[in-house]
């Protein structure tokens, strides 16, 4: 075996700053922080990376993968195929080794010999006796287990030429306050580095070179940014029920509130977080607080969204502001709880029975998660209706390189149309649902404002302009029409679509959210083939007029999304009346982030089909 290993080594792939390293681990083995350290080290070397966790819905014992794409061009989407696998999981090692591209590398724990059937002659094996090294060097059983992960990171630093100083700094940063842990961790890194250097030609042909591409950037996950956005956006009430992958939104809100929202004089809290008994209660609490003038939110995912439907209809019809974060995962039902999808578009756009419609925001990166979270509260207060921020597991739970978070100190919260006691004094007769401004948005009052003016009865049953119960069909229809007008007005407060420079091309690409990460790569690659489509990144629903204009200006638009049923395309059909022939769906719904290769192939295939039938343009 060792002969084969030695001989295959020479044929290794040569790639600099452009490859995929995948870690295959067992859930609960402590690999996450070691793998994260690897990703962060590459980031600090200035080379763009995009790490993706592929993890089970389980606490201990099942397979988990961490995939890091390294790409000097800044392509942050996923790429199929693995250049180097760190194969630490005996349950999956066969599949893991099979996933390596010809010419790639397999790092494994050689304390146990590799079964013959796992040997390929087109990859290079990097055997490291991780278990044996740790047995010899460390005393405690937990250390022996955990440091195996650190040792392989150390070995990788030799193989891939990671700046060792960057790693030691990372260890110091990570264990600040727990200084006792710094030395053993650095020791483990050194052990790996040493072993690799002594036994192999280091670095490999697959290696890293310092770059400047990450200047000014940060590496953060979307849920952390979202929780922080809620702090900056003035949220004071969070109610939630734990549900992957939304849990870390509230964790982040709690963490930053503890730091930033404590009253200096009294030590008391300028926020309240309630772990509710279920999602119904979570959204009910948010609605009660929103009604009473506090900025309130809840965070959930598919199953929670299903439970919240009735309350969403109440908030829509009785016009109560709340912010809801939907960190989408794979449905239907429990689906694949730890995989990502854009599968809740239709059920959120029209959540609840009857004629309803809700504002949706589609962030595409952590900076936008921060911005949209904060902005969602302004929008929701302004339009007095729920705002649903549609993130997904991919964006929420994976770190991503993005611009630093930004806050304008001159900005002020927009609390929308709220009347205070003095303003009420000047009004002859207050009507909660009167459209005085003709924009569909009425004026609201908070409970307790004025001794005898401004009170009203909020209800989910049909009501007139003065909030009185009515079964008069005409009055009901007037209210419904006003709500339609209000949603039109809402568009003015939403982020506009983002367009590439128009080349007056016949082809367009339309997409939302995490699909964005693949687009630059698609465009560069298509350009080499002489295809240069325009792009439109939709950032909010209801759609802006410019969305329709984009379709009008192009002969064919590829609508790219991550669900089975082309939900974005359906929404475009329903809302913008876009003809079926104008749209071509590109779909991906296997639970992992859509890749540029898939998009490009779909485009090329469809174009050759169309060429053959002589139908549409190229």
């Amino acid at each position: 075996m060792s002969e084969l290993i030695q001989s295959s080594r020479v044929t290794g792939l040569t790639k600099i700053n452009d490859f995929v390293v995948k870690f295959a681990n067992v859930n609960g083995s402590g690999s996450a922080s070691a793998n994260g350290m690897f990703a962060k080290a590459v980031f600090r070397m200035g080379i763009p990376i995009s790490p993706h966790n592929i993890f089970p819905s389980n606490i201990q014992g099942l397979p988990t993968w961490f995939e890091v794409r390294i790409n000097e061009n800044g392509y942050l989407g996923r790429r199929e195929g693995v250049d180097l696998i760190v194969a630490m999981n005996e349950q999956t090692i066969g599949k893991d080794i099979a996933s390596v591209l010809p010419g790639g590398y397999v790092l494994y724990d050689s304390s146990k010999t590799l079964a013959n059937e796992l040997l390929r002659d087109d990859v290079t094996y990097l055997p490291i006796p991780l278990k044996d090294i740790c047995l010899e060097e460390f005393e405690k059983p937990t250390q022996r287990q955990l440091f195996k992960n650190i040792v392989y990171v150390g070995a990788l630093s030799a193989f891939l030429s990671i700046d060792f100083k960057v790693l030691t700094e990372l260890v110091s940063d990570q264990f600040r306050g727990k200084e006792k842990l710094i030395l053993p961790n650095i020791h483990a890194l050194e052990l790996g580095h040493q072993y690799a250097s002594d036994n192999f030609d280091c670095p490999l042909n697959l290696r890293l070179e310092k770059s400047e591409k990450n200047k000014g950037k940060i590496l953060m996950d979307g849920n952390t940014a979202t929780g922080l956005g809620c702090v900056y956006g003035g949220a004071t009430v969070a109610a939630w029920y734990p549900l992957t992958p939304s849990t870390s939104v509230v964790d982040s809100f709690a963490k930053y509130c503890k730091r930033l929202r404590i009253d200096a004089g009294t030590g008391k809290k300028k926020y309240s977080i309630v772990q509710a008994e279920d999602e119904l209660a979570a959204i009910g609490i948010a609605i009660g607080a929103g009604w009473n003038g506090a900025r309130a939110f809840t965070a959930t995912s598919g199953p929670g969204i299903s439970l919240m439907q009735e309350f969403l209809g109440l908030a829509y019809f009785s016009e109560v502001p709340i912010v809801l974060f939907n960190i989408q995962r794979v449905g239907p039902s429990t689906g694949m709880p730890t995989r990502s999808q854009q599968g809740d578009l239709l059920c959120c756009a029209y959540a609840s029975h009857g004629d309803t419609k809700h504002v949706l925001l589609f962030p595409a990166n952590p900076s936008e998660c921060f911005d949209y979270a904060a902005r969602a509260f302004d929008i929701s207060d302004r339009i007095q209706s729920p705002v649903i921020v549609m993130s997904d597991l991919e964006l929420g739970m994976n770190e991503q390189i993005c611009d630093p978070l930004n806050w304008d100190d001159k900005s002020r919260y927009d609390r929308g149309k709220v009347l205070n006691a003095e303003q009420l004094e000047e009004i002859e007769r207050y009507g909660r649902y009167l459209d005085s401004d003709g924009d569909g948005i009425p004026y609201r009052t908070y409970p307790g404002t004025h001794p005898h003016k401004g009170s009203y009865f909020t209800r989910g049953s049909s009501h007139d302009s003065y909030a009185a119960y009515t079964e008069d069909g005409t009055v009901y229809a007037e209210v419904m029409d006003r709500l339609t007008l209000k949603m039109k007005t809402a568009v003015n407060y939403l982020p506009e679509p983002e367009f590439s420079e128009t080349t007056s091309n016949k082809l367009g690409l339309a997409f939302i959210g995490t699909t964005t990460s693949a687009i630059n790569e698609v465009l560069d690659s298509l350009a080499k083939k002489g295809i240069t489509p325009d792009t439109m990144r939709i950032r909010a629903f209801p759609f802006h007029d410019r969305v329709t204009e984009f379709f009008d200006a192009h002969e064919l638009v590829y609508v790219i999304e991550q669900n089975r049923d082309a939900q974005l395309k359906s929404l475009l059909k329903i809302e913008c009346n876009i003809h079926e022939e104008k749209m071509h769906s590109i779909l991906s719904y296997d639970g992992v982030l859509i890749t540029a290769q898939h998009i490009e192939k779909s485009i090329i295939d469809s174009m050759s089909d169309m060429d053959a039938s002589g139908e549409v343009p190229a």
């Binding site: 009430v237 509710a276 978070l405 009170s455 909020t458």
Partner: protein
């Protein structure tokens, strides 16, 4: 301060419906210059004689006598005939008729947003003991500072008389449907789950109900009152344990309460053992008249024992069943700031760009 004497066992189906608004110049004003009219709501749309209208009337009287500022109250309900009650009192207060069974969560959120208002939650036995039982249990556990009333008629009035989960085993509705299951007793459930004020009363017994409402409003913490409130249309037969007849005949007060607002001097003295004065957090007081020497409403086990013992004899234990003044409410537990959360603005809430830059640096 006790309500006028109400003749028991007479007008079995009587209720007191609001009169049209008309202010008599010499109408009695309370301490803040308001008359009873200022505490009324819109005209009821419930069936004539419905117990729920008596609850509205009792709340009106209780609030007027206490000189509550109507606009400092928020009224929240679910769905049902009972959940319409908030329309019929305190029209100067904001109200929120939410969705079926979910009043507790809406009330929780409202209370968190502004701790300075009085919160009155009104619900039905269907609303709170069936679809909303989970939310009921959890609002009790969360110790929201509010008065929670269940207008309990043993049936779903609004959907035309199906049996509810509070209907006693063997109780029969007008349609003849008989309850085959054991009932849920909201009062004992509330005591077990940690409510700090639990009472039971009867919509027909204004004399008992009004001081209980006042005490519940003054109580700091979660105050629960299970009010038996007959549905004259669907569940007022001689075979219904929630009808007027059975309730008049079988409700027994474990402890009667007099409510003494803060401003009044307390003069009466009581015989030791049977009577007791309890000062509430806002300075008002309740005078407890106990029916037996060994009834102690501050003893949880004892209270549960008495209620269950009476139930075995077919009796309904009413009055103040349990009180504990030493619990903290959610705001105290969470240590929220003194100012209401809904009054905090940019200045108090936004950490600003400098803090954000520091945070950015932790992600480099």
């Amino acid at each position: 301060m006790r309500a006028e004497k109400y003749p028991r066992k007479t007008a079995a189906t009587m209720s007191y419906i609001n009169k049209p608004k008309f202010k008599h110049p010499q109408m009695q004003t309370n301490d803040i210059g308001l008359t009873r009219r200022d505490y009324e709501g819109t005209l009821t749309t419930l069936c004539g004689g419905c117990g729920h209208d008596s609850i509205s009337a009792a709340i009106i009287q209780a609030a007027a006598e206490m000189s509550l500022e109507p606009h400092r109250v928020a009224k929240i309900s679910g769905i049902g005939c009972s959940s319409k009650i908030p329309s019929y009192f305190l029209s100067k207060a904001h109200g929120f008729n939410s969705v079926h069974g979910r009043m507790p969560s809406v009330a929780t959120g409202a209370n968190i947003a502004n701790k300075e208002l009085y919160y009155i939650g009104v619900s039905g036995d269907g609303d709170s003991a069936s679809i909303g039982l989970g939310q009921f249990c959890h609002i009790v556990r969360r110790r929201i500072n509010m008065l929670y009333i269940v207008a309990n008629n043993g049936t779903y009035g609004l959907t035309k008389g199906q049996l509810s989960a509070t209907a006693d085993l063997g109780s029969r509705t007008k349609s003849g449907e008989e309850s085959q299951f054991d009932n849920i007793d909201m009062a004992t459930l509330a005591i077990e789950l940690g409510a700090s004020f639990v009472a039971r009363s009867f919509s027909g017994d204004k004399k008992q109900l009004i001081p209980l409402l006042q005490a519940g409003l003054s109580h700091k913490g979660f105050a629960f009152i299970d009010v038996i409130s007959p549905c004259v249309t669907f569940n007022n037969t001689d075979f219904s344990t929630h009808g007027y007849k059975n309730t008049w005949e079988n409700h027994i007060a474990l402890s009667e309460v007099d409510f003494v607002p803060m401003r009044e001097e307390i003069t009466t003295s009581y015989a030791a053992g049977k009577e007791k004065e309890i000062t509430l957090h806002d300075g008002s007081a309740i005078h407890l008249h106990k029916t037996s020497n060994d009834y102690d409403p501050s003893d949880k086990e004892n209270a549960l024992h008495h209620i269950n013992a009476y139930k075995k004899q077919g009796k309904i234990a009413t009055g103040l069943l349990y009180i504990n003044q030493s619990t903290s409410d959610l705001h105290e537990l969470q240590e929220t700031v003194d100012k209401p959360l809904n009054s905090l603005g940019n200045q108090e809430l936004c950490p600003g760009s400098e803090a954000l830059n520091d945070i950015n640096n932790t992600f480099r």
